[in-house]
């Protein structure tokens, strides 16, 4: 317990410097600014802003990135409540009751409930993260290459099992991502693979370029194709303060949502989507009057919003302790850390304690800033929502292009982004998801490295993966997940969930 305080005070001393506070603030502001734009979720937002953080020192860069993440998620909820346009799947649930509340003239209250619920969840999950990260990292130190390989298998499978449509297609996208991760110079032999003789490809394909092409450009082209969708924006915000009854109904839901979200967020595969759906189902089930759900019940907004924020926070646990990203956002984080020469994993805590604890404390600060920053600025976000798309998309294109160019100051990256834009557009038509690909792309080199090392240690015996108890357990868990999803009853339930989404 004492240790926890020591760690947190180290974190506070790092996070409370003027420099880091202002980067956290800037991150939250920029994240919200872009996240609030309809149809742009956290992944494209982070991908777009990522290159900007490369010029900063590592700690400041990651703090800003975390701020961008919360900001964009928060901005997404604002859009979901006011215009019923979810930027990402986990905000779909927010639309159900949040937008109804706005239609009932309680938009201000809905925004406050979402903000305060998220803040509470964020605080709780941050403490959880601080308390559980060190013991988990201890476990991770016992991991050999075989365990790491199995863990990555579990992580990748978990990611697609929990959060995507067609399972075989998602697995294919992962493998394709792994293969794209192979492009570039092989660390063991120094041979340049799949480079087609192009010198720029010898450093590998930057994941930010792929992310911007597949998420950013493809998204824009799809939005443009659906003529201009006129949306009704609720301007009448009403009071920002929830009334007594709303407060009474929301508070327990926040508590339950936080617990549920914290637990599910730790799972590989990042439970943000899962936890908001689960929380909504839970609230509806235990409510005395479930018929009010979908008509603007505060609990239907407060539960999922807190769950999703708690999960967003705890999904940092596998990343920071094991070095395994659970979802596409975390994959971007891994990429950012590698650029700063930090290998994500259990050693971060001991080798860069100031970065680790500073990041954790700044997460809490970021959550606080969002509440302080956003409630008074709601009027501004509403104005931003009214900017027509034809003005918006050239600006987004420009920012993507500038961001990509500034990675290496080389126009080649812009062309690669263009190519991935075309591929991403084709994939959206074929309903192939980009998120698993991104995870694979980031994990590819790590996975190959551990696979090779494990077999080197076992002298080429493939049984090493099942003979080591820890590795076997992880693989069995992955297998269990697959069987679970393939079983008819769950399959049906899953399909229902994904149908509801659309």
């Amino acid at each position: 317990m004492m240790e926890l305080f020591e760690h947190l005070s180290l974190g506070f001393s790092v996070a409370f410097t003027l420099e880091n506070l202002s980067y956290a603030f800037l991150g939250c502001l920029l994240g919200t600014l872009i996240g609030v734009l309809p149809g742009i979720g956290p992944v494209p937002t982070i991908a777009m802003l990522l290159p900007l953080t490369y010029v900063l020192p590592p700690t400041a860069g990651l703090i800003m990135l975390a701020g961008i993440y919360y900001g964009s998620q928060y901005g997404g909820s604002t859009t979901a409540i006011l215009v019923a346009l979810p930027g990402e799947t986990s905000a779909v649930v927010t639309v159900l009751d949040g937008h109804q509340m706005a239609k009932n003239g309680r938009a201000g209250a809905a925004l406050s409930i979402a903000a305060l619920g998220s803040f509470f969840a964020g605080c709780f999950a941050t403490i959880l993260l601080a308390a559980f990260a060190p013991p988990l990292a201890e476990v991770a130190f016992k991991f050999g290459p075989a365990e790491y390989f199995s863990l990555m298998c579990l992580g990748l499978i978990g990611a697609v099992v929990l959060a995507s449509g067609s399972l075989p297609k998602a697995v294919c996208m992962i493998i394709l991502g792994l293969l794209l991760g192979m492009v570039g110079t092989d660390v063991n032999s120094g041979v340049a693979r799949f480079d087609f003789g192009i010198p720029e490809l010898q450093d590998g394909i930057d994941f930010a370029v792929v992310a911007m092409g597949v998420f950013g450009l493809a998204e824009i082209m799809n939005n443009l194709a659906q003529k201009e969708n006129r949306v009704d924006i609720t301007d009448k915000l009403g009071s920002l303060y929830p009334n007594k009854q709303e407060f009474k109904e929301a508070a327990p839901a926040v508590l339950r949502g936080t617990m549920l979200g914290s637990a599910l967020g730790i799972l590989p595969g990042g439970g943000a989507v899962l936890s908001s759906f689960a929380s909504y189902t839970l609230e509806k089930k235990i409510s005395k009057n479930p018929e009010r759900f979908g008509k603007g019940h505060p609990a239907g907004l407060a539960g999922p919003e807190s769950a999703n924020n708690a999960a967003a926070q705890t999904s940092f646990i596998p990343l920071l302790t094991l070095g395994i990203p659970g979802n596409a956002v975390m994959a971007l984080m891994v990429g950012a850390m590698t650029i700063h020469n930090i290998q994500p994993g259990p050693q971060v805590m001991s080798s860069h304690p100031e970065l680790f604890w500073g990041l954790i404390v700044s997460m809490w600060i970021g959550n606080l800033m969002l509440v302080v920053l956003n409630l008074p600025l709601v009027g501004l976000w509403v104005k931003l929502l009214k900017v027509p798309y034809r003005v918006l998309f050239p600006a987004i294109l420009l920012f993507c292009t500038i961001g990509v160019y500034s990675l290496n100051y080389n126009a080649f990256d812009i062309y690669v982004m263009g190519i991935f834009g075309i591929i991403g557009y084709i994939w959206t038509k074929l309903k192939c998801e980009g998120a698993p690909l991104l995870l694979g792309l980031v994990l590819g080199p790590m996975m190959e490295e551990n696979f090779r090392r494990a077999l080197l240690l076992s002298r080429g015996d493939f049984l090493t993966f099942v003979e080591r108890p820890l590795s076997l357990t992880l693989l069995l868990m992955a297998l269990g997940l697959i069987i679970l999803v393939a079983s008819p009853s769950i399959r049906k339930k899953r399909e229902e969930t994904f149908v509801e989404e659309e």
Partner: protein, 182 residues
């Protein structure tokens, strides 16, 4: 034989093609043995697995119920060409014409992809973005861009061809859009 799920059918074929492609390409690298893997080993087997799973996806697409939403959506080639084209051309122009001019051209040409194009708004937007980029990226973050045009004599040959041709194409589309809206 009848294809029940068009999307899955074509994705399956794509996965098979990519898997086979990567696997074949990997054979040109040293495979090594499991204990001492060469650079070709891991990608080769990943490619094989991808191709096999692609086969599963393809076969599955032939079964099951036929659904309306399983059709492959229509491709909007105009939008695709305008967006990707203006980005690629921006890449070529940036090193030769400098940030400001390339930026204006990118914004105006990409705006053509919208169903509600207005030259006035596009120009206004471009001016705003030039000021914003200068403030935020050039001054604020200190990113190093080529800002001003390089003399044409110093351009690489491909730029001398691509830049004028693409500008002419862009202007033609612009004029036809303006005429069409009247």
């Amino acid at each position: 034989m009848h294809i029940k799920n068009q999307q899955d059918f074509w994705s399956g074929l794509m996965f098979i093609a990519l898997g086979v492609g990567f696997a074949l390409f990997s054979t040109s690298y040293d495979m090594g043995t499991p204990a001492r893997m060469g650079p070709g080993y891991f990608p080769f087997w990943l490619g094989v697995v991808l191709a096999l799973l692609g086969g599963v996806v393809t076969i599955n697409s032939l079964r099951g119920k036929e659904g309306e939403d399983h059709h492959v959506g229509k491709f909007d080639f105009d939008i695709l060409a305008l967006i990707i084209g203006s980005i690629v051309v921006f890449g070529v122009m940036l090193d030769n014409l400098g940030l400001y001019i390339s930026l204006v051209i990118l914004v105006i040409f990409s705006s053509l992809a919208s169903h509600e194009f207005s030259l006035k708004i596009a120009i206004g937007n471009a001016i705003f973005l030039v000021i914003f980029t200068w403030l935020a990226f050039v001054r604020g973050l200190g990113l190093i861009f080529p800002l001003w045009p390089v003399p044409i004599a110093e351009w690489p040959t491909y730029a001398m061809i691509i830049i004028p041709v693409s500008i002419i194409i862009g202007v033609i589309i612009l004029i036809s859009k303006l005429k069409g809206s009247k």
